[in-house]
């Protein structure tokens, strides 16, 4: 049962009557996703008056529709329309109270020691050792109920793919997820209607509110201000989502500003504010884990419609030196399936969709180089990013392994997620079909769920934006706590890394600003 305590102290544009509102606080947090939610709680619990400003709407979970089409339009950045400049990679992010944690698939991995060590060596992050980070992983795992999937928490497609992994002697990776008592609806991406997914909206944000934190939804921060190299607060606009009209101009004066607007929002705000960019690196080094999903068709129906969104993976090749890709199963609804493969126009397409109940899919997601850049051009956000040639080769190797697993699981034939028809009819054809793929734009149906890296962390002020403790090199008391911190792409789903880093940085903020 819900108690009166432990609820969200949230104001939306509907609650706003004044055209101007000035607030004073100890901390203002921009964005209420993974980084924003965690830091809000840790700072409020330490006695600070915390204000959280969130550009997206507040959608209570009982209003979640379990219709992806509607969820995309209400809870995703750009109504789900965010893409790279070429338009061939969809870059998904949440935009609502709780951010991407409300719409993500809840799969959690600790940051591999490999990256903590690499970041120590290459970026001077020798403070983030596996030993230092361990208690942070343990803490967020406990708080968010991150545990391995139970034997019944799976889907028919995952069970089928499992047979392929077994046949090939591939160790089974069992998903760890921030979910308590999963109801197996398969609607993670549309938001978990009955609150089993432990998103920020049902955990850290209401806990922060227990300690006095206040959330303003529909509130887009437009500028961070600083004086004499120290953060001073922010300006924001409360916008009525129905009309697009600005109802209230809001300013928060606070000696600590925590930027958690995500890897596309945070760099834009710094650029617009003309802050923290002496390195010229703000917005650069964008990575996004491009993923491609291979569709397998089976003799019999699988009805892989509901169940855990992800329940198994194969991560033998995930570190770059082992190849740089990971495989994940996923359930899918017919709307998504309708454009995941290209069987040919007309009759072949109708046959493909008739076979949707006989299909499942395996996603190949790659560790990519940080070659992109986020900027604002003519008032529109631009994500300039193309898959690097070497990364594309990693993708090809991953797709080959993907195809082998699917055939070993009993698939009759496979479709590659290309623009033209690329069907693989047998194991013998895997190499020749995939070897022929070339890295070109508008050829592949890429999705990115994991933007990262635009305000990266490190000791070198000329190459990084944020210092090893989360504070920007240039502006005192301006902290970054979101996925833009990651110095390199990590190849694994990054939410737990963000949870743990935000938790670590909150401790640094509390230590530097006691009382």
């Amino acid at each position: 049962m819900m108690s009166n305590k432990n609820q969200l102290n949230v104001k939306t544009s509907e609650d706003m009557t004044a055209t101007e509102l000035n607030i004073e606080a100890d901390v203002v947090i921009i964005g209420s996703g993974a980084g924003g939610g965690i830091s809000a709680y840790e700072l409020a619990k330490a006695g600070k008056k915390v204000i959280i400003l969130e550009a997206g709407p507040y959608v209570p979970s009982e209003k979640f529709t379990e219709m992806m089409a509607v969820s995309m339009a209400t809870m995703y950045e750009g109504e789900g329309a965010q893409s790279n400049t070429d338009g061939d990679i969809t870059v998904l992010q949440g935009r609502c109270v709780g951010g991407s944690t409300v719409v993500n698939a809840a799969l959690c991995f600790r940051t591999p020691d490999y990256y903590l060590k690499k970041w120590g060596k290459e970026f001077g992050l020798t403070n983030l050792t596996p030993e230092v980070m361990l208690p942070y992983f343990e803490k967020v795992e406990k708080n968010l109920g991150i545990t391995e999937v139970k034997p019944h928490e799976t889907s028919s497609g995952a069970e089928t793919i499992k047979k392929g992994l077994k046949a090939l002697d591939i160790p089974l990776g069992l998903a760890r997820r921030n979910i308590r008592d999963c109801a197996m609806t398969g609607f993670c991406f549309a938001g978990c209607k009955t609150d089993r997914k432990q998103s920020m909206m049902v955990t850290y944000l209401p806990w922060a509110c227990n300690h006095g934190a206040e959330i303003y939804a529909d509130t887009r921060v437009t500028k961070i201000s600083a004086e004499n190299g120290t953060a001073k607060g922010v300006n924001a606009e409360v916008i009525d989502p129905k009309t697009g009209v600005t109802k209230t101009r809001l300013s928060v004066k606070a000696p600590i500003v925590v930027l958690a607007a995500g890897p596309t929002g945070s760099p834009l705000l710094l650029q617009q504010s003309g802050l923290a960019n002496s390195s010229g690196q703000v917005g650069k080094n964008f990575a996004c884990h491009p993923s491609l999903s291979v569709t397998a068709i089976y003799e019999k129906k699988l009805n892989d419609f509901h169940g855990a969104t992800h329940s198994l993976f194969d991560d033998r090749h995930t570190l770059p030196e082992n190849g740089g890709w990971i495989q994940l199963n996923a359930v899918q609804d017919p709307v998504e399936a309708s454009f995941m493969a290209e069987p040919g126009t007309g009759k072949p397409y109708v046959r493909y969709m008739q076979n949707y109940p006989n299909s499942t899919r395996l996603i190949t997601l790659i560790h990519d180089k940080n070659v992109g850049e986020v900027t604002m051009e003519n008032g529109y956000k631009e994500i300039r990013y193309q898959v690097d040639d070497e990364d594309f080769e990693a993708m090809k190797k991953g797709l080959k392994e993907n195809a082998r697993i699917l055939f070993a699981s009993g698939a009759k034939y496979l479709y590659l997620p290309t623009y033209d028809t690329q069907r693989i009819n047998s194991v013998d054809e895997i190499d020749s079909v995939i070897d022929a793929l070339e890295n070109e734009s508008a050829r592949y149906r890429y999705t990115s769920f994991h933007p990262q890296g635009t305000c990266r962390m490190g000791t070198d002020k000329s190459k990084t934006v944020v210092n090893p403790y989360g504070e920007t090199h240039d502006i005192k008391n301006l902290y970054v706590v979101d996925a833009s911190l990651l110095p390199t792409s990590i190849g694994y789903n990054p939410s737990e890394t963000v949870y743990a880093l935000a938790s670590y940085i909150a401790d640094q903020i509390n230590e530097a600003n006691p009382g």
Partner: protein, 182 residues
């Protein structure tokens, strides 16, 4: 700049606009936009989408619901096109006109006038074209069309897909998780 270069740049701009418009629609997004004078379909767009609908979803002989019995074109217009940012919507409009003219040289007719078999062949030619803009345009228009069809829940019945389940399964709300004790 030479005319050819100018045309090429314009062509690339169109293709980028259309592929952005289309990437916008994945996965399975339907934006409830407001139809205005600026974003509503013109006659050519209407004809192209109508032709694309019959070309990409020939459902006779299959258990799928015939698209003509569903409001697919209004869904494309009201739910997909109307929600696009104006600069993308404008690029898309130009892209659709360009696409419609595509078959003139080889088939002597615009796309909306082609018999079904040639329309199918033309879409397949462009989706596997060496030219990125052609791929983007053909794929994009096809995707917009089928997406609007599958976004209508009636189309799921023949597949055995039931859509939302929490209420059907009478799942209990868990509510907010209690704050951890220190």
């Amino acid at each position: 700049m030479s005319d050819i270069n100018k045309q090429r740049r314009q062509f690339l701009k169109l293709a980028t606009a259309i592929s952005v418009a289309v990437a916008s629609l994945s996965p399975m997004q339907v934006i409830a936009g407001k139809i205005t004078e600026d974003n509503k379909m013109d006659a050519t767009e209407h004809a192209v989408f109508t032709k694309m609908l019959t070309t990409s979803l020939p459902t006779e002989g299959s258990p799928l619901i015939p698209p003509a019995s569903l409001p697919v074109i209004p869904t494309i217009e009201g739910a997909l096109l109307a929600g696009m940012p104006p600069h993308i919507r404008q690029g898309l409009n130009q892209g659709i006109h360009y696409f419609n003219q595509g078959p003139l040289k080889k088939y002597g007719k615009s796309f909306n006038e082609l018999p079904d078999e040639q329309a199918t062949a033309f879409v397949d030619e462009w989706t596997s074209s060496e030219k990125a803009p052609h791929r983007a345009l053909a794929m994009g228009l096809k995707k917009l069309t089928v997406l609007a069809y599958w976004a209508i829940p009636d189309t799921w019945t023949p597949l055995g897909y039931v859509g939302p389940v929490s209420e059907k399964w009478k799942l209990k709300y868990r509510g907010v998780t209690p704050e951890p004790k220190a």
